[in-house]
C-alpha cells in the first residue's frame, strides 16, 4: 500500500510542456451502464494545485466521472494517469486521491476525531503523529470543540467540515468533492464556498469539485469543465467560458444569453431585422449576445460597429441590482436586456449593442 505521507514524485510526461505539469490526466474515458452511454470519450487534465469544477446538469455523467477517478466505478475504455502512474488499474484504497461525499459518509460509530484519524490509523501511522495531525485538521475546519461528538450529534454544516478534514488529513494529491454543498441552505452555502476556496489555496491540493450550480462553479473555480450528456462541451476559466462560450449550450447554461440565429453573406451577418459586418465565411451562423451587452440607446450618436434596433417591452423581471427586460422587435426577434434597476423604462425602446459582443458559437446537437 502506498504510504499516504511521502508524496510519490511524479515524472512529468515528456509530451507536455505547459507551465503547470498535469497532475491527473483522464484519457478518452467512456462508460456505459447497460446500453446507456453515461460518458463518451472524455479527456481532461488537472494541474497541480488547481481548482477544477466539473459542471453539468443531473444525468450529465459528472458524478460518474468523479467515481471513476476515485476508483468506485470502472471505465469501459480509456485510462486515468496520475503523473507517470496508471491509476485506473488500482483499487481505490491504493490511490492517493480522497473524496468528500455528497452525503458526507461519516462513520456513525466513530467520534469526530476518530473519523478524521481513520485514514491515518489504517495506514498504521504512529499514535503521536495521528493525534497531532487530527488536532491540526480539526483546527483548520474549526471543529476542535466537537472532537468527541458522534456525527449524529452535529449539524449538516459541521458534518461537512469533518468530512473535509477527514479527507485532507491524509494529504492527498487530489481531493474530489461530489456536490458537497448541495445539502446546505443558501447562506451557509455561500459562506462555505468562500471558506472552501481559501482552504484550497492554503493547502495547495488540487480540487476536483462536482456541481450542477453554475454560479458556484463561477465563484470557486480556476477552470470549469462543462459536461453535457457525457461529453465535454468546453473546458476553460470562468471568465473565458462566460465571455467566449464555445457552444450554444454553454452560452445558455452559464448565465443568461440571447441566441441569435443568423445568415452570413458577403461579410455581413443578417438576423431578422439586424445586420452587422463580420469577417466570416458565408452560411448560417449562431451568435450569443449577453443581456448586459445590450444597452438602451440614448439620444447620442452610436459608437463604431454598433447595431441598433427598436422594440416594445413585453416583460420586466427584477433581479436586485439589475433588471432583465424582454424586448420584442420586428420579425419575431426577442432580445433580453440587462439594465440597472433604477432606470425608468418606456414601453417603446431603442436598443443598441456592439457587433464585437455577439460571440459566434457552435450549434449544440441534440444528444440522448
Amino acid at each position: 500500500m502506498a504510504s499516504p505521507i511521502t508524496p510519490v514524485i511524479a515524472a512529468t510526461p515528456g509530451t507536455r510542456s505547459a507551465a503547470k505539469p498535469a497532475l491527473l490526466s483522464v484519457r478518452n474515458v467512456a462508460k456505459n451502464f447497460g446500453r446507456n452511454a453515461v460518458l463518451r470519450n472524455v479527456s481532461l487534465e488537472i494541474a497541480e494545485g488547481e481548482f477544477l469544477t466539473i459542471l453539468g446538469e443531473s444525468g450529465s455523467g459528472k458524478t460518474t466521472l468523479l467515481r471513476i477517478v476515485a476508483g468506485f466505478e470502472t471505465a469501459n475504455s480509456g485510462e486515468i494517469w496520475m503523473g507517470s502512474e496508471r491509476l485506473d488499474h488500482q483499487p481505490p484504497y491504493r490511490r492517493r486521491v480522497n473524496t468528500v461525499f455528497q452525503s458526507y459518509a461519516l462513520f456513525p460509530h466513530l467520534t469526530v476525531e476518530e473519523n478524521v484519524g481513520y485514514g491515518l490509523r489504517v495506514a498504521k501511522r504512529p499514535a503521536a503523529e495521528i493525534v497531532q495531525r487530527v488536532a491540526e485538521a480539526l483546527v483548520k475546519v474549526k471543529m476542535t470543540t466537537h472532537a468527541k461528538a458522534k456525527p449524529s450529534k452535529i449539524s449538516g454544516g459541521q458534518q461537512q467540515r469533518v468530512a473535509l478534514a477527514r479527507a485532507l488529513v491524509n494529504r492527498p494529491r487530489l481531493l474530489l468533492l461530489d456536490e458537497p454543498l448541495s445539502a446546505l441552505d443558501a447562506n451557509l452555502r455561500r459562506q462555505m464556498q468562500v471558506e472552501l476556496k481559501s482552504l484550497q489555496r492554503e493547502v495547495g491540493i488540487a480540487f476536483v469539485f462536482v456541481t450542477h450550480d453554475q454560479e458556484e462553479a463561477m465563484v470557486m473555480s480556476d477552470r470549469i469543465a462543462l459536461l453535457r450528456s457525457g461529453e465535454l462541451e468546453q473546458v476553460a476559466t470562468p471568465r473565458e467560458i462566460y465571455s467566449r462560450p464555445a457552444t450554444a449550450y454553454v452560452a445558455q447554461f452559464i448565465g443568461h444569453t440571447n441566441l441569435l440565429k443568423g445568415e452570413v453573406r458577403g461579410g455581413v451577418v443578417r438576423c431578422a431585422s439586424l445586420a452587422w459586418a463580420a469577417s466570416l465565411p458565408d452560411g448560417p451562423a449562431l451568435f450569443s449576445l449577453r443581456p448586459e451587452h445590450v444597452r438602451l440607446a440614448g439620444s447620442g450618436a452610436s459608437g463604431n460597429g454598433s447595431v441598433r434596433v427598436r422594440g416594445r417591452v413585453v416583460h420586466q423581471a427584477f433581479h436586485g441590482a439589475t433588471e432583465l427586460i424582454r424586448v420584442e422587435c420586428a420579425d419575431g426577434l426577442v432580445l433580453v436586456v440587462r439594465t440597472a434597476s433604477s432606470s425608468a423604462v418606456h414601453n417603446e425602446v431603442e436598443l443598441e449593442f456592439s457587433a464585437a459582443d455577439a460571440v459566434l458559437v457552435r450549434e449544440s446537437p441534440e444528444r440522448i
Binding site: 499516504p4 480522497n98 452525503s103 461519516l106 462513520f107 460509530h109 481513520y118 489504517v122 495506514a123 449524529s152
Partner: protein, 282 residues
C-alpha cells in the same frame, strides 16, 4: 387522528389474546410452582418453597440446565459462523443472484420442524446415509455411533434449524449499512479486510446480537431435537419439564423449572436489547 371506538376495536382482540393465552397461563404456572403433589397424586394448594428448594439441591437439574446452555451456546456459535458469512456474501457480493439465494435460505423454514429433525435421523443413524457412505469409501470399518443419539446430533440439528434465524437479522443489518461508508473507507486507504473489521462488522453488531439471541434462546428451550436425536446423553432441560408435566405427574416442580427458565431467558433478552441499542447509530 383515530376515534376512541376505532382504537378500542383494533386493540381489543390482541389484548384479549395475550391475556387469555399468555398472561393467565403464566400466572397459573406461577401459582403451581408454589404448590405440591400429595402421595395420592393430587395437587395440594398449600403455598411453600419446596419445589425451589428441590431445584437448588438436586444436581440432576443443574447438570441438565448447564448441558442445555452448553448445547445452546454451541448452536449459537455455529449458526453465527454459518449465518454471518452467508449474509455477508449475499448482501455484498451476490449481485443479481441475491433474491434467489435469499429465497433458498428462507425455503427450509417452510418445511416442518419434525421433517427436518427426522431427516437428520435418516442421515446420522447406524444404517444411515452418512455411515453407509463412510463405510463404502472405507473411511470407517464399522458404523460410527456418536453420530446419532448424542449431544453432537442435537447441536447439528439445532444449528441446521436455527441458522436461518441467525442469518435473517444479520442480513438485515448488513443491508442497512450505507454503501458509501464502505466506499469512504476504501477511499481513505483501508483494504477490504480493514474495512470489514473497522466499518462493516461494528455496524452489523445489532444484527449479530439479535441472531445470537434467537439461536441461543430457541435452542435452550428446544425439546424435540433432544427427544428424537439426543439419546440419554443429549437430554435437555425442556425434556425434564415435559416429563414432569407428563409421566412423572409433578406439575408444581415442572412449573418451578419453567419459571427458572423464563427468568434466564428474559434476562438474556433484556441484556441483548441493551447491547443492540448501544451499537445502533441510525
Amino acid at each position: 387522528m383515530f376515534s376512541r371506538a376505532y382504537k378500542t376495536v383494533v386493540t381489543a382482540p390482541p389484548l384479549v389474546w395475550v391475556t387469555v393465552f399468555l398472561l393467565v397461563p403464566y400466572l397459573l404456572m406461577f401459582c403451581y410452582s408454589f404448590w405440591s403433589v400429595s402421595p395420592a397424586q393430587a395437587i395440594v394448594h398449600s403455598w411453600n418453597l419446596e419445589n425451589y428448594k428441590e431445584l437448588l439441591q438436586k444436581t440432576v437439574y443443574w447438570e441438565t440446565l448447564l448441558r442445555s446452555m452448553w448445547i445452546a451456546a454451541r448452536v449459537m456459535v455455529f449458526s453465527l459462523l454459518l449465518g454471518y458469512p452467508l449474509a455477508y456474501f449475499l448482501s455484498f457480493y451476490a449481485g443479481k443472484r441475491k433474491d434467489l439465494l435469499y429465497q433458498m435460505v428462507i425455503i427450509p423454514l417452510w418445511v416442518s420442524y419434525l421433517v427436518r429433525a427426522y431427516a437428520w435421523k435418516t442421515i446420522l443413524g447406524s444404517d444411515g446415509v452418512l455411515n453407509t457412505l463412510l463405510q463404502y469409501v472405507h473411511l470407517a470399518t464399522h458404523p460410527l455411533d456418536f453420530l446419532l443419539y448424542s449431544p453432537f446430533a442435537v447441536v447439528l440439528t439445532l444449528t441446521h434449524i436455527y441458522t436461518p434465524f441467525t442469518f435473517l437479522p444479520i442480513y438485515a443489518a448488513l443491508e442497512h449499512i450505507p454503501r458509501n461508508l464502505v466506499e469512504a473507507s476504501h477511499d481513505l486507504g483501508a483494504t477490504p479486510v480493514q474495512t470489514f473489521w473497522k466499518v462493516i462488522f461494528p455496524l452489523s453488531i445489532p444484527g449479530v446480537v439479535a441472531g445470537a439471541t434467537f439461536a441461543f434462546v430457541l435452542s435452550l428451550g428446544d425439546f424435540l431435537a433432544p427427544l428424537l436425536l439426543g439419546g440419554p446423553s443429549g437430554i435437555m432441560i425442556s425434556n425434564i419439564v415435559v416429563s414432569l408435566f407428563g409421566a412423572a405427574y409433578n406439575w408444581p416442580l415442572g412449573a418451578a423449572i419453567s419459571l427458572g427458565m423464563l427468568v434466564i431467558v428474559v434476562s438474556l433478552l433484556f441484556f441483548s436489547e441493551r447491547l443492540e441499542k448501544k451499537w445502533s447509530f441510525s
